[in-house]
């Protein structure tokens, strides 16, 4: 049967993270999960039950989570430091900057329930700044997987990386977007759908919505390319520039503030290459973020098939 992206529902990426970590841990006692009272939200209860010696609980202390993880990683442990992205990348940002990135201890930072996954809980629990702050820190790879396939490969790739990495996961079940035979490579985007009128460059849990927008536009005679930019840093500049030369417009999509995230990263690539193309950044505006479910917040800000299709059409026909 032919694989059709976005038609079959999978698991939450977090669950796939946990399963993948368990398979890594089963063969290597150096694989550790470090948690800050976050094993439940990180779907790590089965991991803790199966590998009690390989989970380190530090309690609600994110600074300590990252500092201890750096120490563990310095001795060769394969450390996944797991905490809600909102706390991990704010409370312990200085530990990330100094103890992990600057000191170059290869911790795998795992931001769970990222973006507006905790939409109804208010801005304390939103992480719409994490891509921006981490992009500006030297020596960290940033990956926001869009589906179970990318999650599994990103978690596995992180295990072998000798420098710091940040993985960003939401908590809702994701549709399968990739044929299992697709090649996953850190730093290289994946084109899910080919098209020539407009290109959506999306990351993380917004990729599905970009794909649905692409399908909607197709039915209106507009041909869309949809790119999953799972690695936000280092950015796959080549695919961004190719989109500019191949298609008439680019729309970027992210579950993040429009300041400092994927969209501005793409804009910088385009401007500095002298590529002129109609361009829009879709994300969360710089305002007091509304609350609701992730889905409701997405729809409110136009991160939906309908909203993204409208944005693309306006861009093509101003």
């Amino acid at each position: 049967m032919k694989f059709e992206p976005g038609t079959e529902s999978g698991k939450a990426n977090l669950e796939v993270f946990s399963e993948t970590l368990m398979s890594l841990a089963s063969g290597d006692k150096n694989v550790l999960a470090v948690t800050s009272d976050s094993r439940g939200s990180g779907k790590l209860a089965p991991f803790a039950a199966a590998y009690p010696e390989q989970i380190v609980e530090v309690g609600i202390a994110e600074q300590n989570l990252v500092g201890i993880s750096a120490g563990l990683a310095s001795t060769g442990k394969v450390v996944y430091a797991v905490s809600p992205a909102c706390f991990l990348t704010a409370r312990s940002l200085e530990q990330i900057k100094n103890d992990v990135c600057y000191s170059d201890h290869p911790v795998k930072l795992v931001g769970i329930s990222a973006g507006v996954s905790y939409g109804a809980l208010g801005s304390t629990h939103h992480s719409t700044h994490d891509l921006a702050v981490l992009r500006a820190i030297n020596n960290i790879v940033i990956i926001a997987p869009s589906d179970n396939f990318e999650t599994k490969h990103a978690v596995r790739a992180a295990a072998t990386m000798s420098h710091p990495v940040f993985l960003r996961f939401g908590k809702r079940p994701m549709y399968h977007l990739h044929n299992p035979r697709t090649k996953f490579e850190v730093g290289r985007s994946i084109t899910i759908r080919e098209g020539s009128d407009v290109t959506f460059i999306a990351t993380g849990e917004t990729v599905y919505h970009a794909l649905m927008a692409g399908k909607m536009l197709e039915s209106r005679g507009i041909s869309c390319r949809v790119i999953s930019m799972h690695t936000v840093k280092p950015l796959d500049a080549e695919s961004v520039l190719k989109a500019a030369s191949d298609s008439g417009a680019i729309v970027t999509v992210e579950e993040h503030c429009v300041l400092g995230g994927l969209g501005e990263a793409c804009a910088a690539v385009l401007m500095q290459a002298g590529a002129r193309v109609p361009f829009r950044i879709v994300g969360l505006p710089d305002e007091y973020t509304i609350t609701g479910s992730q889905q409701e917040i997405f729809e409110h800000y136009g991160i939906s098939a309908k909203g993204l299709a409208e944005t693309a059409e306006k861009l093509l026909n101003p």
Binding site: V56, G59, A61, N64, G67, I68, G71, S74, T75
Partner: protein, 276 residues
């Protein structure tokens, strides 16, 4: 080495760190002078760390959380042969690896520090790794007293006791001063020993300039099985130079030419007293 030989070494370390601070026109004079004897005893008597074993996973680990006192660490590492002392001519110069705070670009340094309240958590992570591997090496973290107000330290004081990290030793360079003035005036720390005990550490208090007493105390860690060890080393900020001692304005003050000559003279007199 005998106690007297180490005492002489400490004076040479002080002379050298002043020399390189003077040449660089930058550095943390007071705090470097206060922790010299602690570093001397650690590196020359206690820790199993040398240029030969620095890549060996079984080596002990030293983490300097009070990263600003890096000039003391540099002169000790140079003396131990981690790099030629002449490298320190580049201290704080354009593109030098010998930065004003420790970085791993310098041979012998485990962890980049400088932002306060970071070293202990890193050290606890290393100690926890040793426990998991049933490895025998020990971890020593040097803390400033001023930095103890950083809340992150107390997260680690709790976790290290929880994980029974008796392979972890924290040494507080208790010189009672920080950049603004007396620690007790800025944001009082006392009673420190009671705080540490309440957090589950075994505490010993020692004269941080007494080579024999430091050797004795640091040679006994862990003080208690299953408990992390805390050494409050009572020190004098600026130790060894009369006009620098106990004056918080020398936190990162660089001596003038005449102050520099006077300081070296005083340290030379100490050497003479010791028959060196």
């Amino acid at each position: 080495m005998t106690d007297d030989e180490l005492k002489i070494k400490s004076i040479h370390y002080r002379k050298k760190l002043l020399e390189y601070i003077k040449k660089a026109g930058a550095g943390h004079t007071g705090g470097s002078l206060s922790c010299v004897d602690i570093l001397n005893v650690l590196y020359n008597r206690i820790m199993n760390i040398s240029p030969q074993n620095f890549g060996d996973p079984a080596r002990d680990r030293y983490v300097q959380s009070k990263g600003h006192s890096v000039e003391a660490l540099y002169v000790v590492l140079a003396d131990k042969g981690f790099f030629p002392e002449s490298d320190l001519e580049t201290l704080c110069k354009y593109r030098s690896h010998y930065v004003g705070h420790p970085t791993r670009k310098v041979n012998g340094i485990e962890h980049n520090s400088g932002a306060l309240g970071h070293g202990l958590a890193f050290g606890a992570g290393v100690a926890l790794s040793a426990k998991k591997d049933k490895a025998a090496y020990k971890v020593y973290v040097l803390l400033g007293d001023g930095e103890l107000v950083e809340g992150s330290n107390w997260e680690t004081f709790m976790a290290a006791a929880h994980y029974r990290l008796d392979n972890l030793t924290a040494i507080v360079d208790r010189n009672n001063l920080q950049i603004t003035g007396k620690t007790e005036d800025v944001c009082g720390l006392e009673r420190l020993d009671e705080k540490f005990r309440a957090f589950g550490w075994h505490v010993e208090i020692v004269d941080g300039h007494d080579i024999a007493a430091l050797s004795d105390v640091l040679g006994k860690v862990p003080f208690k099985t299953d408990k992390p060890s805390l050494v409050i080393a009572n020190t004098i900020k600026g130790k060894g130079v009369s006009f620098i001692e106990n004056d918080h304005t020398w936190h990162h003050h660089v001596p003038t030419d005449s102050q520099y000559r006077q300081a070296q003279l005083e340290l030379d007199n100490l050497l003479t007293e010791l028959g060196s």
